[in-house]
Symmetry: C2
Subunit: 167 residues, 2 copies
């Protein structure tokens, strides 16, 4: 077991709880707005936005799943919904037959364009408004560093693909 796990002090706890609460609140509000303005969930919007931001408007399922923190099966489900709604198309990748290439449709782009202003509004109102430009830069810098750290050393997804060599 853990021999010594010194508790977190007030500052650490405060930062942790504030992070979780703020992100929860923001995500909840964004989800409501997205649902009301375009019948989209947060995940669906994330998928569409990511596709819209990609040069060809296409990506493989895996790339999508990596970008969005999401299970593969959940992504399949949502992609099915999006497909049925005509916002994306799916077809086997030409390069790898086992891979599915997802492409955003014009209707999908229109949907993103339609909900984006409201989305931005909510984010601005909830997250950006109370922050000075300086605070914003700092927040971005700090969180980016954390994210890079997480990507470099994921505690759960660490899949040493060559289990034998270096440990």
């Amino acid at each position: 077991m853990t021999d010594d796990a010194p508790p977190l002090d007030a500052e650490q706890l405060g930062a942790y709880f504030a992070l979780m609460e703020v992100s929860s609140l923001v995500q909840h509000a964004v989800e409501q707005q997205l649902r009301a303005s375009g019948d989209l969930s947060w995940v669906q919007f994330s998928i569409l936005a990511r596709l819209a931001d990609t040069p060809g408007g296409s990506a493989r399922m895996t790339d999508l799943a990596d970008g969005v923190v999401y299970s593969r099966s959940g992504l399949t489900y949502q992609a099915g919904l999006l497909d049925k709604a005509g916002l994306i198309t799916r077809r086997p990748s030409s390069d790898d037959e086992r891979s599915t290439t997802v492409t955003i449709t014009d209707e999908g782009r229109a949907k993103v364009a339609a909900v984006l202003p409201g989305h931005v509004d909510v984010v601005r109102q909830m997250l950006l408004d109370p922050l000075s430009r300086r605070d914003l830069n700092t927040l971005g810098a700090v969180l980016t560093r954390v994210r890079d750290h997480l990507r470099a050393a994921p505690p759960r997804s660490a899949k040493p693909r060559t289990r034998g060599g270096a440990g």
Copy 2:
């Protein structure tokens, strides 16, 4: 409608995305750890932790729901699970008969104590390690300001309690 919603610039987008991704990653990892070490979900842990931190170890459902960003029905469900597991007890409040007072049991406290070290470990490893003390303070301060702002002007939970006479 939104007449003009100027898009977010790179810094704003970066901060927003980084916030959502980091919190998602951290929550996911914490959830895995909690599940593995004590068969608890994040919400269940939040409930227990909040109760354990309360003087009498008790709280009303409403207070719990306010603290955790959660629907009432979801809280009822989780409280039922926690009750069945013997980690909390529920009984009608002596003050308000319609209110349910939730109290953490000794077993509940033991559970919290059991999973806390691992929980702290994960948080430290994922969030705290890559941050300097200075960064941590800044992060906490900035996020706290955002949270206060959100609590002061909730865009969705705004519940004008005097509905204007009409019913």
